[in-house]
Symmetry: C2
Subunit: 456 residues, 2 copies
């Protein structure tokens, strides 16, 4: 196993070249014009898995973008690790804020810059290269399966069905995922909880056409003003969500557990400084890490109406829109929350507008215990690279498919993330430190080794 360092040293330029080929493909799953790029990215992954030493790999159809599946079965008696990742990425706008083009990856300041550098092309690719090492150096201790999908960033709408259809093929003892972050470059962590998600789009219609704001202003409801009032009312003065029934199923975390969580390192001054904000803002009665870790939230992800160009246009717009998403915690059902939101939003609409509410996607929250062999194998692996055991954390993010895996395949996932908060995933200038990329490749084989030992 010691050979991993020299293997990385010898091959690091090739590893980066291969990753860059993947990063250059603009596989933005939310844009329907990118269909061909999705297929290109899938084929790139298939070839990469084969090249790394898989016995077989193929691009398989789903009801949406294709899924890449590959495997190397060395002995049916050995435990099987199913590596999950995604080849799709988030949109890149606002494009003008990128310091280098999002799909022309480059290295600056010891980091890889480009859309997907971390989330999740960079992180998932570490698994291909760690696998390659174990195959080439003949030290693979488990059977390995890869499932790399192309719709994670739009909520994996078709992967559940894919899993239903391929339960036998996907049989495994654990699902291994790198699509989350560590607390800091020197503080490894394993994500033991994820929030769920209910993502809605609302449309408020006032008059049947754009009106002159002078001739009609003051006499006809302006849908942009109305939308502002409706959105404003979705949270109260204590930053609690007002959607009726929203908190009914929220898992209440005990004070003891909150005290445990409070031991994780967190510096509020640094947090505010990094975001350039004077004050944080969130639900009364909870601290920052609790607000993202164990409490639900509601955010406007997009809002638009009327004239948004240069200068002044005196228009009273006909319509106003918002994309509003809610992050959910264990025990909240995203479909129920979507229904509650729709009912609430329609109920608060005044009689002088029409309202349309669409649920765009959603997923359940997830919690995983720290007592499993997978968690212990991960802890062991991180310790080999970072010299310390990882901290178990509940992340505010969502990987909706993780709870679906458990439900359909009956397999728990282990979230071994190597991202960092500063990686700007989902934002302009996404990046991934070279050190994290190579540390990931270095760490993963230890997970396989210890997981195989614990499974004996």
């Amino acid at each position: 196993m010691k050979k991993i360092n020299s293997y990385i040293e010898k091959n690091q330029e090739r590893f980066l070249e291969e990753l860059f080929g993947l990063l250059r493909i603009p596989s933005v799953s939310s844009e329907s014009a990118r269909k061909e790029d999705m297929v290109r990215a899938a084929e790139y992954w298939r070839d990469a898995i084969l090249k790394a030493g898989a016995g077989k790999a193929e691009v398989m159809p789903s009801d949406g973008n294709p899924v890449v599946y590959g495997e190397k079965i060395i002995d049916p008696a050995l435990p099987t690790v199913l590596v999950y990742g995604h080849y799709d990425v988030m949109p890149v706008d606002p494009l003008e804020l990128w310091k280098s083009p999002p799909f022309e990856p480059e290295i600056r300041d010891g980091k890889i810059w480009g859309r997907g550098a971390d989330d999740d092309k960079g992180q998932a690719f570490m698994h291909a290269k760690a696998f390659e090492f174990m195959v080439k150096e003949n030290c693979l201790p488990c059977n390995v399966k890869f499932m790399i999908e192309g719709e994670e960033e739009i909520g994996s709408p078709n992967l559940g069905k894919f899993c239903e259809q391929h339960k036998e093929m996907l049989k495994a003892d654990v699902i291994l995922v790198s699509d989350t972050s560590m607390i800091a470059p020197d503080i490894p962590s394993v994500t033991t909880g994820l929030r769920g998600l209910a993502y809605m789009e609302v449309e408020v219609t006032g008059p049947n056409r754009d009106l002159h704001s002078g001739l009609f202003g003051g006499a006809v409801a302006n849908p942009a003003n109305v939308l502002a009032k409706m959105v404003a009312s979705l949270t109260d003065d204590h930053n609690r969500i007002t959607v009726k029934g929203f908190y009914d199923d929220v898992e209440i975390v005990s004070l003891e557990e909150r005290a445990e969580m409070a031991k994780a390192p967190f510096n509020l001054a640094n947090y505010k400084k990094a975001l350039d904000i004077e004050e944080v803002c969130g639900e009364e009665g909870y601290v920052t890490m609790e607000r993202t870790g164990i409490r639900p939230s509601l955010d406007v992800n997009g809002m638009w109406s009327g004239y948004t160009g240069e200068g002044a246009k005196t228009v009273l717009p006909s319509k106003a829109w918002a994309k509003i998403s809610m992050r959910l915690v264990p025990n909240q059902d995203h479909e129920k929350i979507s229904r509650l939101f729709e009912a609430h939003f329609k109920a608060i609409a005044p009689p002088y507008v029409k309202v349309k509410v669409t649920a765009l996607h959603g997923g359940q929250a997830y919690v995983s215990p720290i007592t499993t062999p997978a968690y212990q194998a991960a802890a062991y692996a991180y310790e080999q690279t970072y010299g310390k055991k990882p901290v178990p954390v509940r992340s505010g993010g969502s990987i909706p498919i993780i709870s679906t895996f458990e439900k359909i395949l009956g397999i728990k996932s282990i979230l071994m993330g190597f991202g960092l908060e500063a990686d700007a995933i989902h934002s302009p200038n996404e990046n991934y430190p070279l050190e994290q990329f190579f540390n990931g490749i270095r760490t993963i084989p230890y997970f396989y080794k210890h997981f195989a030992e614990l499974s004996k």
Copy 2:
């Protein structure tokens, strides 16, 4: 004067061809890329005025887009009419809602379709053609001056200075303007009041970059949610504006005058039906026509933040913007209101966001008595064409330059509009009925005739 009908009949196709040449020029004043089109439109007007019979006409520089000035002085002892209009137009977006391209005018269903068909290319061009008739038929009873500007839709920021610099040249007894609407095709009206305008843009900044809404949602203020709350708070439950000091200077219209205004024909059911709304919405204690005629208003003209494309992006945006304009009534000063708004908006900003407020443009409200010779000449003229005297109305719209004319040049304006509410000015599918266009040309010479008689 009877000859006007046959003159129109003989020349109507040429009149339309000439107008269409003007409509084809995309002279959108709020778009800085249109500078050359602005000059082209000005030159087109200069040539049109010369061709119609002016003694001279030229494109004159201003600090912004050029001003077209032309004149025909037949006798210094006669009264002088200064025709004011504008060659600039509003932006055309959303472009996809236009049934025919905005700058490719065409005639359908007895109407001229295209940006500027009414506002103000179509309406101003009636004056050129009425003038042509009086010159050609040798019945011009007044001296005539034309001043056609190119920045009306952005608030005429440079015309005040132009007037200051050319007071002597612009000397006149009345300013004649067709840039407003009639109540209905069979109910002529003269606009005796206009609202003022204060147009602001606000920018709310939260974190210094777009964030992942899962990792940060609930812990960091979302500027889009904050903007919604701030905008929502600008009007109260009685639809009164909450900006501190906003109503201090509002002219209170007497109950008697309101009773007079209530005699103007207005059908609420038709109004709602035309706009496809269930209910109107405005300041408590006032009816619809009062809400636009004698009361100020506040409207969001544009609002934008975060991801506005197809599908879902789980972003917590860094910034949110809104364009917010207030219509003002006589005695409210737009510069004072802009200052009050800025102070108020900054005062209500919570500590976890930064706020920037910019005044984009403004203008004062205007009122004009119905006892002047100009009003009586207008009333006489409308009666010749429509068989009835016009109704004096206070419009909700703004032509900021009208009060500036009074202040700088000391000349009252008479607002003889021929537009109709259905003309969709400032909206997609702007149009202007052929009948109104030709009725305007028919009516204007009677104004000149009676104005000259009353001035004797």
